[in-house]
Symmetry: C2
Subunit: 482 residues, 2 copies
């Protein structure tokens, strides 16, 4: 579809002045926006917008500067949806050089908190950063070094204004202040959160490019979380699965203060043994703003994308979250699908077994680095292993010959608040007296208590989104140091 | 230690006549047995015997014929235990050719039920047999073709004499008749049971021999089970985890009517979503004798070794079952342990993701087998995929080039009684129009909803016991048919 520049010349097209568009802002009965030189009445779309009412920021003006920020909209699918709501064109007398003059919008990232410089930045806006290796080698990650995965800006929240709302299937709502949530019996667990894309860069390098943030091994961290059990709050709000109005509900659908949303199965949300928290403390202090201040979901054992930060509401109902992050992202396909059938694929919930090498050193017995001629190398290598669903790691195996033979690493577990299951990673360490001269490839794989283990190669699990990159982690060490 | 043949000649050794040994039978205050020419007072060992009071069958006589039946005793470990209870030797006047004359014992397998000839027999006594391929290609396995894994004989039980006892941590017992169990609300689930050793023969062939029954793909079957929920029966018997006497309990320890025993975590036993049954019906009829008549445990998603058949008791306590099948078997090690540390290894509970090819055909389009020169082959291949913990199979991938490229099989799911989770296998089918000439290796792997998948090779999971042989299943098809 191509529009001529002199719109009034086209018959059967309605033309509007910018002033009329401006009157249809968020406070109006009907909300209009412009995109390019076209005018859209989006009133009936707002409730279906995956980002929710955030779209109202653009009402009465152009949506173009917002779409530049939220590049997810750059798809023909999105444009087809918008096209349904088109009502006309901007009058040519209001165009400047053939375009609608755009007011600049306030940068929503301007209020983001400062970041520790040791984090490994992937993107600034939204903020995405890996934990540095030093933090991955500790049993519990310091708050300031916990990996950051934001989809938008960090919403500014005043503690006294914060509320959390439970919406029951019957439509009843109950709202809690932060101090209300703190009046529930506090529950503390040490839990690992891991991004679905952790180690994505390894998958891309091993097979072919994938679409997503190129995480190395640092899209994972562990903290000790304190909060109210979600199950307790749902019961307090009146959720009763025996009632006729509630019994067909299947999902707990969280929405956040920016625009993010995701859901978990209601059976998980209601099961005390699942230890799902509305967490307000992280390692003994208030949540940092980057990690959901004042309240976030911590759904342990489940992909971190469901542990919604800055959570403001949970809706209990029959359907999964309608958000793009539930329906069009955080799913996993196989290496063989030419066309990704998002509707058919299950959303990722429980995570598979994973491990990674986060550090190593090669030294001579007296300390310092070893010359090749010495022949007395010592290799130390360490990292983490983790599995979803609360499944404990039962073994970590290390191979120096590409998987022909294996030796077992020592498993390290610090002091934890374990909750009902094993929600935290297991760190491991492996020592070898003489790994030989020259370069050595270290391969690591973990096994969890259900005896699942990691695939050897990425070929069989490659997927276009690069999710769940769990193949053996291989690192070549022992460059020709002399 | 070597004993001279003329025992009376050895000072400080006490000698007994056979008649005196015979008086120390099961009805005596103290039970004696002989082994070889030595005499043992086993009274204080009986409660620690992994097989329980079955050992009383030998009291008052020689244990040698029993140990010939139960070859598990042929280890230095067992002999060291027995040595602690030695009290003397048999007087030489009672020996015949230097040996204790053994009475023959009744063959305990004489009452075993007849078996369907289509089952693939591994051992006759005890009875172990695989399901035939034709049964593995059905969604629900007919009772008479369900795989059989017995550790002993099939105990003869009269329905009216059958009882099931719950022993609480405080020592309180409550006993139920079969009709008592049937008075609980019946619960029905379709669940797959799989032996820990299924596909063991593939592991042995791929790497090196393992110790155990050489199962092919038929150590797995699926049935629709009806019974009382174990959680309901435990609650009825008075188990209350809030009480001071009960709250430290962690395991539900089952004992069977022959000598078998095994346990599951109490959290699983008590969780209604775990769907653990005291099952009295299998595919709509009474349990067949080979499958636990009149009552067996069905612990879905867990290794079948915990679904104790002919169950007569559950003891709730702090420790796992002391049976050898909990402590010295049904554990899984890695390829790198020189000495198996049984005490440190966790007992297998939830099963890992698994798949297998159970049938295939290659035909020309008009039917019948194809000559190579035709070039118009069609390949159909099918099988099952299964994962533990109630995790659904989300994909089955098939490769014809050793894992370089994959295509997705069609997943088939019949009518099921699903319970809280996906407890039954998923069958799959794959069709290819032209698999090429000559031999083709078909490889299959499955992925479950936690996105765990199967290892490519057996090298990294080989273990001395050959348990959990989950590597990709590979079958070479297309022999040079002309």
């Amino acid at each position: 579809m191509h529009w001529a520049t002199s719109y009034e010349a086209i018959p059967n097209v309605q033309y509007f002045r910018l002033a009329e568009v401006a009157s249809h802002d968020a406070s109006s009965d009907r909300q209009w926006i412009t995109r390019g030189t076209s005018v859209y009445d989006i009133t009936d779309f707002i409730s279906a917008h995956p980002g929710g009412p955030i779209i109202l920021h653009a009402a009465g003006g152009s949506i173009d500067p917002y779409w530049k920020l939220f590049t997810i909209h750059a798809s023909s699918h999105v444009q087809e949806i918008l096209a349904q709501y088109k009502i006309g064109e901007i009058a040519s007398c209001d165009l400047v050089n053939g375009e609608v003059p755009c007011a600049s919008i306030r940068n929503p990232y301007a209020d983001d908190p400062p970041r520790d410089s040791r984090l490994k930045t992937l993107t600034e806006n939204p903020r995405n950063a890996e934990s540095p290796d030093e933090a991955l080698s500790e049993d519990v990650t310091p708050n300031e070094l916990f990996y950051v995965r934001n989809h938008f800006w960090v919403p500014p929240v005043k503690e006294e204004e914060y509320t959390f709302t439970v919406e029951l299937p019957c439509g009843t709502e109950r709202t809690y202040s932060l101090s209300d949530l703190k009046s529930f019996e506090p529950h503390t667990i040490t839990a690992t959160l891991q991004c679905a894309g952790n180690r994505r860069s390894h998958m891309s390098a091993a097979v072919k490019p994938t679409n997503g943030l190129p995480w190395n091994v640092g899209g994972i961290s562990t903290a000790t979380w304190t909060g109210a059990r979600l199950a307790d709050v749902l019961a307090d709000a009146g959720l009763d699965m025996r009632s006729e109005e509630h019994k067909s509900a299947r999902h707990a659908d969280f929405t956040a203060l920016e625009a993010y949303g995701a859901s978990i199965p209601l059976s998980t949300a209601m099961d005390p043994r699942s230890d799902v928290l509305l967490a307000y403390a992280m390692n003994g202090t208030d949540l940092p703003r980057d990690h959901g201040y004042p309240v976030r979901v911590v759904a342990p054992g489940i992909v971190a994308a469901r542990s919604v930060k800055w959570v403001q509401k949970v809706s209990i109902g029959e359907e999964e979250s309608a958000s793009q992050w539930q329906r069009r992202d955080y799913k996993c396909f196989g290496p063989n699908e030419k066309r990704l059938d998002w509707d058919k694929a299950k959303s990722i919930q429980e995570m598979p077994v994973m491990s990674a090498i986060t550090g190593y050193r090669i030294k001579k017995k007296g300390g310092g680095w070893l010359g090749r001629q010495d022949g007395q190398k010592m290799l130390d290598v360490w990292g983490y292993a983790y599995s979803g669903g609360g499944r404990e790691i039962v073994r970590v195996d290390v191979s120096l010959d590409g998987g022909k033979s294996w030796d077992q690493a020592e498993l390290l577990r610090g002091e934890r608040e374990d909750g009902s299951k094993t929600w935290a990673w297991t760190r491991w360490r492996y020592h070898m007296a003489d790994p030989g001269d020259g370069k050595v490839e270290i391969a690591v794989k973990a096994t969890d208590e259900a005896y699942n283990t990691q695939p050897e190669r990425f070929d069989g699990i490659w997927n276009a989104r690069g999710n769940l990159a769990t193949a053996w982690h291989r690192v070549v060490v022992g460059e020709d140091e002399t």
